[in-house]
Symmetry: D2
Subunit: 270 residues, 4 copies
């Protein structure tokens, strides 16, 4: 469901724009097996509940709003687990005459912020994330030394374009959470991407994860998913031209998807 909240003050307005997804698990056998709906909370009721809760909640952090919602739903009959996933569509203030306007906004980038709150008998787990953060670097990226078997035709590359759409989620330690950690994690991811001397997407992914863990002691581990958005050098030799790393074609398919979770003990898996 979609929820937009305007926080109105005398001087300016703030905007929160969310897509929320509430899932309940529980002992619902009679609903499925017998068609007995006495335990089946209507999705329409769930929607109404979210709107009503949003009225007096500041929604300073979506994670905290989701936590409060999850407590309400966890108290319903037969429910054993509540998952609230949220995507925050981000708006920036419009600049007018060089100054941010108090009431006008622009959707600034495909990047979205995500959160997931899972509440069950064992407690609450909060995970934050971002997705669709598209970045590219034009140097400091290579890929060589990989195994060559009879199916290998790829040439080694010492200087290639590295482009990806970063999706990442990180789990917070249970307890009182400082949700502004998001800014530190994001800065660590992005600045490491830019600065790293990349020997592979995997190599850069690991460095990004390490930097995020170092910047944010409150996170347990971080998972990243980095699709390799290939930029292939165009062969201009048939036309009597060289191509000194200048003209590329960006391709959608096929692509490599590099995924790993980096944890405190240094473990990683592809």
């Amino acid at each position: 469901m979609r929820l937009v909240k305007v926080r109105r003050t005398e001087r300016s307005h703030d905007l929160v724009d969310l897509t929320l997804d509430v899932r309940l698990e529980g002992e619902f056998e009679p609903v499925y097996v017998d068609g007995d709906n006495s335990l089946c909370l209507a999705t329409d009721t769930m929607k109404n509940t979210v709107y009503a809760f949003a009225r007096h909640d500041p929604i300073d952090y979506v994670e905290a709003f989701s936590e409060r919602l999850s407590a309400h739903f966890a108290a319903q009959p037969a429910v054993t687990s509540v998952r609230i996933a949220a995507t925050e569509h981000r708006w920036a203030r419009l600049d007018v005459n060089g100054r941010p306007d108090p009431h006008a906004f622009v959707q600034n980038g495909a990047e979205q912020w995500t959160s997931l709150v899972v509440r069950d008998q064992s407690g609450v787990q909060v995970t934050a994330g971002l997705k669709d953060l598209v970045v590219l670097k034009t140097t400091d990226s290579g890929f060589s030394g990989f195994p060559r078997d009879r199916f290998t035709t790829l040439a080694e590359a010492s200087d290639r374009i590295l482009a990806t759409s970063v999706s990442s989620t990180w789990r917070y330690r249970p307890g009182t959470i400082d949700y502004s950690a998001r800014d530190r994690v994001r800065t660590a991811l992005v600045e490491t991407f830019a600065a790293h001397k990349s020997l592979s997407v995997q190599h850069t992914l690991y460095a990004m994860g390490e930097a995020a863990l170092a910047a944010s002691p409150e996170i347990l581990d971080i998972t990243m998913s980095l699709p390799n958005r290939h930029h292939l050098l165009v062969d201009l030799k048939p036309f009597g031209l060289d191509n000194p790393n200048e003209i590329f074609v960006a391709t959608d398919q096929p692509y490599g998807l590099i995924e790993a979770t980096v944890g405190r003990d240094g473990s990683s898996k592809s």
Copy 2:
């Protein structure tokens, strides 16, 4: 990656149209931590391997082709687990003068067939499925008797439109598998959807799962995901008109997503 295979015989051609996704997990720490690529199979090599294997494989069933591919990749150094997910884009023969053409095809429906083969030290698990099968029934569907709290505004419905996009996956028992079970599973799902006196989406989902299990002893369990594509009755009273279940607006958001796995012991979860 995308793969199209044409099987050519004197009398006619067959067409297999796939999107394949090969994922390797393994002991790849040196790749991530040190940038040592000596264990890092290039995605380009993986792509070439699939094309080369496709040349002499009949690909009668995508599941069997994926199994053979998974054995090749599982034998690579450091690999501990191989996952091959496939989506089959289905083509039907074009009718010309009332007869199927031997060489011309039409993409008949959004419905796609999926499979997932996972191979690790414990063996091979094959899962088949379908997705984007959009169905609708105009009667024999209601929703009433659900709990009413202070956030409930939904009216009870004794006769509503039920529409959904069926996604389903089913796991096969290990061993020699008769992949034509797919046809029996699909028929059971679709015919139960049409015939069931539905008291809720959950109720119909369970009946569909039970029918699939009954029709196919070779499957262990079946998972279904049924988004409720709401068709809301339009209120025509302001214009002096009745609306005896005739005029509806189809809405995208918000919607309820009903998911469950039905197994042999009758267990279900929402």
Copy 3:
């Protein structure tokens, strides 16, 4: 706007599923220049009008329903021209035990039917069409003899896969129109695609257009848009394998888009 109508009879139900787009042009300067809304029909009112008209209209043909709607809107103050574009999302009956079910439907194919009714002082022009009809043939298609300049690297092809997503619109002669002409046009397009010995996409497009004109004297001309969905032969020689027109990769970009209008006097333009 989305509109679903169920036609209910004792024996069975019929389903019409539309997306409608109503556009008015007119002498609306005061609305734009002065913010005077006294001539500005609210889009919400336009939506309500369509739903109210749908209640007692059989909607046997979307074209005829659009014509009736267009007469209503053309009579509003300041309106000089009305355009009603419709897309019909097609449903087929579900087969149960080999027989079509009276109340259950499946969305059978990406193909959609379109129509456009334009009404102004000069009269009414009705255009019908279809889109997203994806077809492919595995033989009887080549492309050779094209000009070779210093930028040409493409090899000549005597036997290639031809695949496209057909979009087509055809204009009806003014007057009483037999809208079942759609079936004849569609059959002519599809059967010609299958049977034609294609020397280029352009060549097949023209043959399809000629066949449609021959099959339907009530149409003035027909416009087709055929994107060339390239299927490239994979080079397997590096792996010691031949590829006798069997293994292809389907690519999205770049592609050629072939468009032309074929009229009664035989004129065509690219």
Copy 4:
């Protein structure tokens, strides 16, 4: 086709990321009617030509690059008209430690820049534009005084959210064009959207167009397409809550699409 060009200097790199669409019209009857391809420039050749031209072109402005390309294609046999449409995918520099990185980029916003160059015997017409610029204001927007007929149920609104995705194109006067006019046009559009006391979307559209014309004497006229992305106030009264313009649901369908061209003589049409 997709084209990425990296301009490399000692100090930093620049990035141009384009989707280009080249269309030729001409006297191609033999291609269509007879399958004679001797006049049919292969799309593959067109693609190669663009890449070769890009090698030594600075592509400072896509409009100028398209003009040069159009001259080449207009000189091919049988060609009577060339249309080159381009979409520029914009990248911003990544900030690292508060400073823009010389080699790393982020895709900053859905907004894309478009251009269209049409060259035929009568000369060259250059049109520039932008699309997918999503903006929203939380105040200074109303809609009232519209006509009320028997189908009207919409309430008058004195203070509503106004949200839209701006698409706009503007035509340049023939001659030597200062393409940096784009910045002035964009600023005029955005700042007017923010500052305008809106009595309707149409009213704001016209003010935006007037501002753009005033800021850029080099443009002939400007066309805008503003879909009304409705934000509906949620009715919280059933839950005993007020809703002082705070909680909204953003809806996709149905929506109003407001389009007009504003020219130098003040003419507009809806």
